[in-house]
């Protein structure tokens, strides 16, 4: 499966985006997000970005007020996932122009669409910013 889920959570612990690549019920999701947010938000800048949780691990990175949390299988490459998070942020930055929490809040489906361009079925399928954004911008123009 590789990537199991991608979450964006602000520093108050509110979920701003949630994308799961395996089916979880609402209750399972609520519990999972609560646990993870409690675990990760308590950590400080001097601590490493990897947290073991249940039978997988979470790679996270903080950008301003927003935490990007990615749940991955244990043998996934942590540093590559960090690079992936950074790529995601850069892509959104290029699209929205200095992206902030509000952009993601008000354009949630667009953020989902970008993620779908990058990740499919838990595998990273696209890593070029231009390639990711072409269809997004094309659709924006047409609609």
């Amino acid at each position: 499966m590789g990537i199991r889920f991608i979450l964006m959570v602000n520093k108050q612990g509110q979920t701003r985006l949630a994308q799961y690549y395996e089916w979880l019920t609402l209750e399972e999701r609520r519990a999972l997000e609560g646990e993870i947010v409690r675990k990760c938000l308590a950590r400080n800048e001097q601590q490493c970005s990897f947290v073991e949780h249940r039978n997988y691990k979470i790679v996270y990175r903080r950008y301003a007020s927003l935490f990007f949390l990615v749940g991955v299988d244990n043998d996934e490459n942590e540093l590559a996932i960090l690079e992936f998070i950074h790529l995601l942020v850069e892509t959104m930055d290029r699209h929205f122009g200095n992206v902030c929490e509000l952009d993601i809040m008000f354009h949630l489906e667009k953020a989902h669409f970008m993620l779908e361009e990058m990740v499919m079925n838990g595998c990273i399928v696209e890593t070029s910013k231009a390639q990711i954004l072409t269809p997004v911008q094309l659709l924006e123009k047409t609609s």
């Binding site: 949630a18 601590q47 970005s49 960090l82 489906e109 079925n121």
Partner: protein, 925 residues
């Protein structure tokens, strides 16, 4: 309910309005959301697709971020999906991906929509439907849409093709038979030079190879090429993951791959790729010395890096290496030990694991000592992490690494006193376990138990109660090793035991019973009924006992010499103490406590007269009764002196069930029977006390009148006791809060010598890791009783999931089997499971026949290879070129015929190759 009017759709809230409203929070979030949901429920019924899709979009938002159920909208999502407008379709697909799952009732209605969009000319529609399929596909969808996915796998639009590749993973997983149709095209995509496609297809194979690596061995040449040629780090990482799985299965492959991986490790500047190389080498190439050395060099760079991420990963890599190359850990021990005090708890735990990996029977004492000091300084969480790993490491394989049990038992005692210690349960188990298994350690165990029991401060710490219960049990069970049993009695009956939970209280009372019987036995039976039994008497009794038990009594000899004398007077005091301490417990709420207290008091009543008489020097009068009491003491003592041994886990199962006994026959009636019985505890508590008291006195046929003189005596005894052991008594007026008045048992502030721990530990591990002869221990390792069953590992039944099984079976069919299994033209009539079964058999026989011919025929092996690589001619040619190229690299150019060379090699050493690998074609040259 009426549908929304035109006005409603005109003034429909958009998603943006919804979000703004949520942010303003005029009426509170929950109220606002439920109002919005109400609107959505109405709007979603609209016949206007725009209104409907907006409602659906809002619902997605609320479901995704505010956990609201959207399953009611499943059918509406399908309706929106049928809209001709792309923007509607996109919303519908988004909603479906978020909310549909295997048990969604309308799932199968989507098949035709998906088929239509999969064959659409608009690549974005195709992409949306593929994306959706990758999220929701179940068996039926996967089966029905396999032909469409197959077509898309060779689409000339890269954008579509890469998505089709990614979706294949889910389709294979849900419907393994699709492998027969799609696998070849998937493999063809490995040949693609476009990085987009390659990244997707390598991702798919790395997931597939995780589940069943052996099936993908024949594809090794393709992967090898990608590894050597790849410019993208993402792809390289995935290929490395594949090789990490394949290499252990095929040593020849490992030989070929290890060098390119090392090259990559030297060249690359990307930390992620570097780490993947390191991890691949340490997990799957650990027997290649030079590669490991290179990897270790890189690990060291990670370890000394400022970045906590790299440091963590470095430690993580070390812990992988540790299992096979312990020297690597010892080379880096300074960093590891320094990391024990890192600010990051995750790093601390990793380094703790590594330190524990270094523990051996030579250094366990020193490392444990230093770690315990670390535990004293750490936060509660990490402290218990440390204690837990010490406990589990030391008890591994029935205390394999412990030689000096006396030391270990006192370490357990020391660990219990650490302020944050919450490992009470584990320590309890080990105390009792060691007591049962190791005879020689019992005197020391009793000493440790005494120290724990006698400290009233410990009773206030609820985490320690389990430890104290073990200590109490030890004190009762092995009281014969005690120097001063009277001290135990006082400790077990001290007033602060009221802080204990009832279950442990009961253990205390029972242990007090045992100790008392031992004292009485020593005094009256062993030492005769003369007054003033001295040390020598108790010494003798101990000696006899230990001989009885068949233990080696030499250790204990020296210790009992100093034991305090048990005189008649002290016995009398003891009896008073018991009565004083236990009388209040007769009214306890807890049946167990009440019962045991009553037992003990009854016993005291039985023998009290004689004790009192002896103290009064009136032997003649009580001669008859004295004999009777002695008899009782002897009886009870015999009952307690039977040694308890460790019990095997499977002991219960060994007891044969007697004929004609059905174990759960009458259990159903139990409830009705029990229902009639009133709760005894409330009864006893309210008005049972006086009557029960009468029972006791009638039960004991020694009628004793408690005259005022005696009660005076007992109060004066109490006063004396209070004077001697003032610490045990609660100050008047306070009860439960007392526990806080005591200083913590092991105050870290008092420990001054903790500063140079790290350097100590470094030194210790340095010493211990140097291979040296076994040091001469002052005493040999005592016998540890082991039960056969304990060492038996539960037989792990390897049960593959049928789905995986069929998936890998299908893959093997394609890769190892011949082309005639599935002509490419037959893709329209999908093979059913029946045919599949036949084919599997067919494949097996084929494989067998191949194995037979491997040793004797070049031609057959060549044909086999042609089968397995039965792809386009272009592909084969390219492969051949590649092989030639690598041949040249290897300076094996003497033979321009790699195939002949290969078969020769095969013929030379047929025995070395396990039968399984013989079906794998020679892709290695």
């Amino acid at each position: 309910m009426s549908g929304p009017s035109l006005m409603d759709s005109l003034f429909q809230r958009t998603l943006e309005d919804l979000i703004k409203g949520l942010r303003q929070q005029l009426i509170g979030e929950q109220a606002f959301i439920s109002k919005a949901l109400e609107e959505i429920r109405k709007e979603i019924k609209s016949t206007d697709l725009s209104t409907k899709s907006t409602a659906l979009l809002k619902l997605c938002y609320l479901s995704n971020l505010h956990f609201h159920d959207m399953s009611f909208a499943a059918f509406h999502a399908l309706e929106v999906l049928s809209s001709p407008r792309f923007s509607h379709k996109k919303i519908a697909y988004h909603a479906i991906s978020l909310s549909f799952h295997d048990s969604t009732p309308v799932l199968l209605l989507i098949t035709n929509h998906l088929r239509k969009d999969l064959t659409s000319t608009n690549e974005f529609e195709v992409s949306l439907s593929l994306q959706c399929l990758s999220r929701i596909a179940n068996v039926d969808l996967a089966r029905d849409l396999t032909p469409e996915v197959f077509t898309l796998l060779s689409s000339n639009k890269l954008y579509v093709r890469k998505r089709a590749v990614a979706v294949v993973l889910r389709v294979f997983e849900k419907y393994p038979d699709s492998v027969r149709v799609c696998f070849k095209r998937l493999v063809e995509n490995l040949e693609n030079y476009d990085p987009q496609i390659l990244s997707a297809v390598v991702g798919v194979f790395s997931e597939l190879a995780c589940k069943d690596p052996r099936s993908y061995l024949p594809l090794a040449p393709e992967f090898y090429k990608i590894l050597v040629d790849s410019k993208s780090n993402w792809i390289s990482i995935k290929v490395l993951k594949i090789f990490a799985k394949l290499a252990p299965l095929e040593p020849r492959l490992a030989n070929r791959v290890v060098e390119p991986i090392c090259d990559l490790m030297r060249k690359t500047g990307a930390k992620s790729l570097l780490f993947e190389c390191v991890r691949t080498v340490v997990t799957s190439f650990s027997e290649y010395e030079s590669a490991v050395r290179l990897a270790v060099e890189k690990i060291r760079e990670f370890l000394v890096d400022e970045d906590p991420n790299l440091k963590y990963l470095g430690l993580h890599a070390l812990s992988i290496v540790a299992s096979k190359h312990l020297w690597v850990v010892s080379e880096n021990k300074e960093v590891v030990i320094k990391s024990l005090s890192d600010p990051d708890p995750n790093i601390k735990i990793e380094s703790l694991r590594l330190v524990m990996a270094m523990v051996s029977e030579h250094n366990v004492a020193e490392i444990s000592k230093v770690l315990v000091n670390y535990a004293l300084k750490s936060d509660p969480l990490f402290c218990n992490e440390i204690l837990g790993s010490i406990l589990s490491t030391c008890s591994r394989n029935v205390y394999e690494i412990i030689v000096d049990f006396d030391w270990y038992v006192s370490l357990l005692g020391e660990m219990s006193r650490i302020p944050h210690c919450q490992m009470g349960e584990e320590i309890e188990n080990q105390f009792i376990d060691i007591g049962l298994r190791v005879k020689d350690v019992r005197p020391e165990l009793v000493r440790v138990a005494r120290d724990l029991l006698i400290d009233p401060a410990l009773l206030g710490n609820s985490f320690l109660h389990r430890v104290l219960s073990a200590a109490a049990w030890v004190s009762g069970e092995y009281v014969e090793f005690s120097r001063n049993p009277l001290e135990f009695m006082e400790a077990l009956l001290q007033p602060r035991t009221s802080l204990l939970p009832p279950s442990i209280m009961a253990i205390y009372i029972q242990s007090a019973f045992k100790v008392l019987v031992f004292c009485l036995h020593t005094c009256f039976v062993r030492g005769g009924s003369t007054a003033g039994v001295s040390a020598s008497a108790s010494y003798e009794s101990f000696d006899d006992l230990s001989v009885e038990n068949g233990a080696d009594s030499t250790v204990a000899h020296g210790q009992t010499c100093t034991s305090a004398p048990i005189t008649n007077e002290s016995i009398v005091n003891l009896l008073k103490l018991v009565e004083l301490a236990l009388s209040p417990l007769l009214g306890s709420h807890d049946v167990e406590v009440q019962e045991r207290a009553r037992n003990l008091l009854g016993f005291v009543d039985l023998i009290k007269l004689e004790a009192l008489n002896s103290s009064g020097q009136e032997e003649n009068d009580s001669e008859r009764k004295g004999v009777e009491a002695t008899k009782i003491i002897r009886l009870v003592h015999d009952a307690f002196s039977k040694e308890l041994g460790p019990v095997s886990l499977t002991a219960q199962g060994k007891v044969p069930v007697p004929d004609g006994l059905t174990l759960n026959e009458n259990l159903g009636d139990l409830e009705t029977i029990c229902g009639d019985i009133e709760l005894p505890s409330s009864n006893t508590f309210s008005f049972g006390y006086p009557s029960e008291e009468k029972d006791v006195s009638s039960f004991s046929n020694l009628q004793i009148k408690e005259d005022s003189g005696q009660s005076n005596e007992s109060t004066s005894l109490l006063a004396e006791h209070r004077k001697r052991h003032g610490l045990y008594y609660l100050p008047s007026g306070k009860s439960e809060v007392i526990s806080n008045d005591y200083p913590p048992a092991n105050d870290p502030a008092l420990q001054g010598d903790n500063n140079d721990n790290a350097s100590d530990l470094v030194k210790l591990t340095a010493e211990s890791l140097v291979p040296k002869r076994k040091p001469n221990h002052s005493k040999p390792r005592p016998v540890v009783v082991k039960l056969d069953e304990v060492d038996e590992k539960p037989v792990a039944v390897k049960q593959l999931e049928s789905r995986d099984d069929s998936l890998s079976g299908a893959v093997r069919d394609i890769l190892f089997g011949s082309e005639d299994i599935l002509p490419t033209s037959s893709r329209s009539n999908l093979p059913n499971s029946n045919r599949k079964g036949k084919k599997k058999q067919h494949m097996i026989t084929q494989v067998e026949s191949k194995e037979n011919v491997v040793d004797d025929g070049n031609s057959s092996s060549r044909r086999r290879k042609d089968h397995s690589h039965g792809k386009e001619r272009r592909h084969r040619k390219k492969n051949a070129e590649e092989r030639n190229e690598t041949d040249r690299k290897e300076k094996e150019s003497s033979s321009n015929h790699p195939r002949r060379h290969k078969s020769r090699q095969r013929a030379e050493e047929p025995l070395k190759v396990p039968p399984q690998t013989s079906v794998i074609p020679d892709f290695l040259l």
